[in-house]
Symmetry: C2
Subunit: 186 residues, 2 copies
């Protein structure tokens, strides 16, 4: 998966590992966090698979860098991945795993749990709404508004997700408050 993300970025233009890392942090980290070390490792795999070539560029005043370029074979692989239909998307949510077992803890503690989630959700939403200006700049940079459109779609997803997530938290919180109040009323 990460391989294809890197391939997708290289398809926009040749990049160094450092730049790919930054691009990930700037635009894809909302829904895919990649470790720097993993990016450098995957780049080696791309090279091994013949999907990219690299070229060392010497710089003065700065360390040397390795510029990676996508190959025809890499482009073919990117296309293969894009047209491959796997509508089955295995959701993997640590959040739900933890929520599932919260029956072990007290109502009071779980209300606090949802409050903490709420804060995390706000932080996520804030990062999300801060993105759009970057998209505009990016669209100009790569000179293709169509590409920015799909980026915008992922941001929309993030925004809608945050909103849904917030409603869910509030719903759960209310349910717990009702139970607590029933107990207190006894």
């Amino acid at each position: 998966m990460l391989k294809h993300g890197i391939l997708g970025l290289l398809n926009y233009g040749s990049m160094t590992g450092y730049e790919i890392n930054k691009a990930f942090k700037d635009s894809l980290s909302y829904f895919w966090n990649a470790q720097t070390s993993q990016i450098y490792r995957e780049l080696q795999t791309l090279k091994k698979n013949g999907w990219a070539t690299d070229e060392v560029i010497e710089q003065d005043g700065k360390p040397d860098k390795k510029l990676f370029t996508i190959t025809e074979s890499g482009k073919a692989e990117l296309t293969r991945w894009l047209i491959d239909e796997d509508t089955e998307y295995a959701m993997r949510s640590p959040l739900m795993m933890k929520t599932f077992f919260r029956g072990e803890r007290s109502i009071e503690e779980n209300i606090a749990y949802f409050d903490a989630l709420s804060e995390g959700c706000d932080a996520f939403a804030a990062r999300m709404t801060a993105t759009p200006p970057d998209i505009e700049g990016y669209a100009k940079e790569i000179g293709d508004p169509m590409k920015a459109l799909y980026w915008k779609m992922t941001v929309d997803f993030g925004t809608m997700y945050a909103q849904m997530y917030r409603s869910w938290i509030e719903k759960c919180r209310k349910e717990l408050e009702e139970i607590r109040d029933e107990h207190t009323a006894d």
Copy 2:
């Protein structure tokens, strides 16, 4: 993470690997899919960590089975995990990764892409709404309505997620249709 899920299940009562596997498929698979082989491996890790003990039970007409029981140390670990606050939840969505790079394909193909997603979403929602009756039975079985409450919360999340996901798909689809129609109008 899976370790803690297994620990959570064992905390409800002693179980065999087979039963844990079934419990995962029945109740946690919506947001966490676990491979059978991984469950058996993690059970060995729990044992190694002293979080669970096992006992071989001979049966006639059926193969022998290994019953796993949570230890005090395992319960402590479960609690540690539950109270540990990590509001940072790294979302990892292959779906968004693919959507991000769809600019490489034609508008027409991408409309078809969203239609395919829509079908996958419906399938997920259908599985989700089929769950509630199981929760009722489960609540009676473990005799603790509080535990079923948190299960229900995860199902609610799934339902709300599916709804949000569907709206997002429709929104994207409409955007693409508008662009297509603008082109056709020329």
